[in-house]
Point group: C2
């Protein structure tokens, strides 16, 4: 089989499932596809997002001491600058902490950053050079 | 617009672009869709993966001190247990560090963990309950 340019799962380590569930379901408006006491899965655009108890993730990964904030960010691109503002606002109400209020980056568009309850960073962005289809699949576009 | 269950970009903070480029192109066999001095983008299965200078990510996110290893993991599901072994082997040769040699987790399947050169964790897994289509799009399956 050819090697696919593919990520199957993004797993975020969390401390408090109810707190995280609120951020992702009330803040983003998402519906889990599966949940039990230690994990919540969301079916995303071509892959699965998991919210997994951090100690369980450490055990599975075979190392301890996973730190926050980690050196990564997830981004959700939305359809307009106004939607950046409204999504940031919903996420803040659902327990997020604004890291950067939305503004215009040097490369164009409009974006802000907000931390989820475990301090994982989300960028909420409007970037009209990157098309998003009806299934949420995002394609790189030279801006 | 309805809120999509969608992540547009995963951005990993990196320290040495040539070192990371080797891991992702030689190890995974992926081809960048764009690169300049501070970022490399890969078109993935429905979203974009970015490898971004960690200081530049910190500036963009408006906070300093991003730590590694972070409390997250990315996973690539492959087609067989044998492919888990061969992908782990290729990634190790391209500069990865094995965190967990492949074995069978309690929930079934077969998986190992390997850190990229910046200590970001990748799980390489075989999980035949989760279908992967020809575009690399992965669907949750109760296993």
């Amino acid at each position: 089989m050819d090697m696919q340019q593919q990520v199957s799962v993004i797993t975020l380590g969390i401390a408090d499932q109810a707190r995280s569930r609120r951020f992702y379901t009330d803040g983003f408006g998402w519906t889990p596809v599966f949940e039990n006491e230690e994990i919540i899965f969301f079916q995303m655009n071509g892959f699965v997002l998991g919210l997994f108890s951090k100690p369980a993730l450490e055990t599975d990964m075979n190392r301890q001491g996973l730190a926050t904030p980690g050196a990564f960010a997830l981004a959700q691109n939305v359809a307009s600058a106004e939607e950046v503002d409204s999504v940031m606002d919903q996420l803040e109400k659902a327990g997020g902490r604004v890291l950067r209020a939305p503004d215009e980056p040097p490369h164009g568009g409009y974006r802000g950053y907000i931390a989820d309850p475990d301090d994982h960073a989300w960028e909420i962005a409007w970037n009209d050079a990157w098309p998003i289809d009806e299934h949420g699949h995002v394609t790189f576009g030279a801006g």
